[in-house]
Amino acid sequence: VRYVDAGYVVALSVLAAYAAGLVLRRRRLEQAAAAVNGDAAGAPIPQVPRAGSPTSVPGWSPGPEPR
């Protein structure tokens, strides 16, 4: 009987551990995705006006040419 018990315990515990690992991994990735998305939403997009185009920020003008 101990072989039977061992078979059930090993099978069920390994499956349960793997399932729990999947849940934790998915949760961590979803949190990471939310963090990255949150940062992306909060971060400004660098916008560089092209040469000759009107600037979007009032009062802005290009600086002197680099030497």
Binding site: R25, A35, G63, P66
Partner: protein, 306 residues
């Protein structure tokens, strides 16, 4: 898969597995020849079925569909990866539970029997597949490589299935899936046996859906470990989040980078966030600004007069 469906499958898997354990250990009678050892029948063949036919088959079919030009999609690659990982897990469990059954019935933990050896070979092939997935490569290259490996591993599946008929083996033939389709099990034992298969199939469906979702998220984040550790560091406050105050990340903050548009075609982007179209909206009204100081890239070597 919708979250509600996945949850329902998960609940079904837990309930049916619990019912199988209850019926298998306490309700069904012992066998005339094997006694209580027959109770492993409700676990071991169901796990082997998932490893070989369900997970192994899904990995093989998904890999084939990826390699076929008309259906080529990363969906099939991710499905194959998820199935192969679960197939490896179930193959290992098949070997362990089979070994626990073999010790009291055959007298040995392991023998180089055709069924056992071909199953062990399948596990090795699946581990090779999983190792191949970790080799850095472009997604398409990796997918193609792994699909070929999965098809090589799939060749072993019919060998495992027919090994008990092709060779003289210690392992018994199929209880249900035998050439005569003659079912050698009846009554409550048959129902529990069937319920074990249903339970393991539900477990597989739930696991493959979860593993697929993890694959999608990891691909989207472009590297699971990096992103998770970054998120953890940010959560700890060790790293400032990018653009937390609507400011641009310091590009060339210390003169490390030369100004963008070194020939004057483009203005420089520097630490002060001189260009902050979005940032300006966030920070409120912005008054007139002085032109930003360009970051001098350093002394320019004199050109030769030629």
């Amino acid at each position: 898969v919708k979250p509600a469906t996945l949850r329902a499958v998960g609940v079904g898997a837990v309930v049916s597995t619990a019912a199988t354990v209850w019926l298998g250990l306490w309700v069904t009678p012992p066998d005339r020849t094997q006694g209580d050892l027959v109770r492993l029948l409700y676990v071991h063949p169901a796990i082997a079925f998932v490893a070989l036919y369900l997970a192994g088959g899904t990995a093989a079919v998904a890999s084939l569909l990826y390699l076929w030009g008309r259906t080529r999609s990363l969906f099939w690659d991710r499905l194959a990866a998820a199935s192969a990982e679960i197939a490896a897990l179930f193959s290992a469990l098949t070997l362990v539970t089979g070994s626990l059954w073999g010790r009291p019935t055959w007298g040995v933990w392991w023998t180089w029997d055709a069924r056992l050896t071909s199953t062990a070979l399948l596990l090795v092939l699946l581990l090779g597949y999983l190792a191949l997935r970790r080799v850095p490569a472009a997604p398409e290259v990796r997918a193609k490589r792994c699909a070929a490996a999965a098809l090589i591993a799939a060749v072993d599946v019919p060998i495992v299935h027919f090994s008990v008929y092709w060779w003289q083996t210690l392992h018994q033939g199929g209880t249900v899936l035998n050439p005569e389709l003659n079912v050698h099990i009846h009554g409550s034992m048959a129902w529990t046996f069937l319920l074990g298969f249903v339970a393991m199939c539900l477990v597989f469906v739930w696991m493959v859906a979860m593993r697929y979702r993890i694959g999608v998220l990891a691909d989207r984040l472009g590297g699971e470990e990096l992103e998770v550790s970054l998120a953890e560091r940010r959560a700890e406050g060790a790293l400032p989040s990018v653009g937390a105050e609507g400011a641009l990340p310091s590009v060339g903050a210390e003169g490390a980078l030369p100004s963008v548009g070194a020939e004057g075609a483009l203005p420089s982007v520097n630490a002060e966030g001189a260009l902050a179209e979005v940032g300006a909206d966030r920070a409120g009204p912005v008054g007139p600004r002085t032109p930003p100081e360009p970051v001098t890239p350093g002394p320019t070597p004199a050109r030769s007069p030629s």
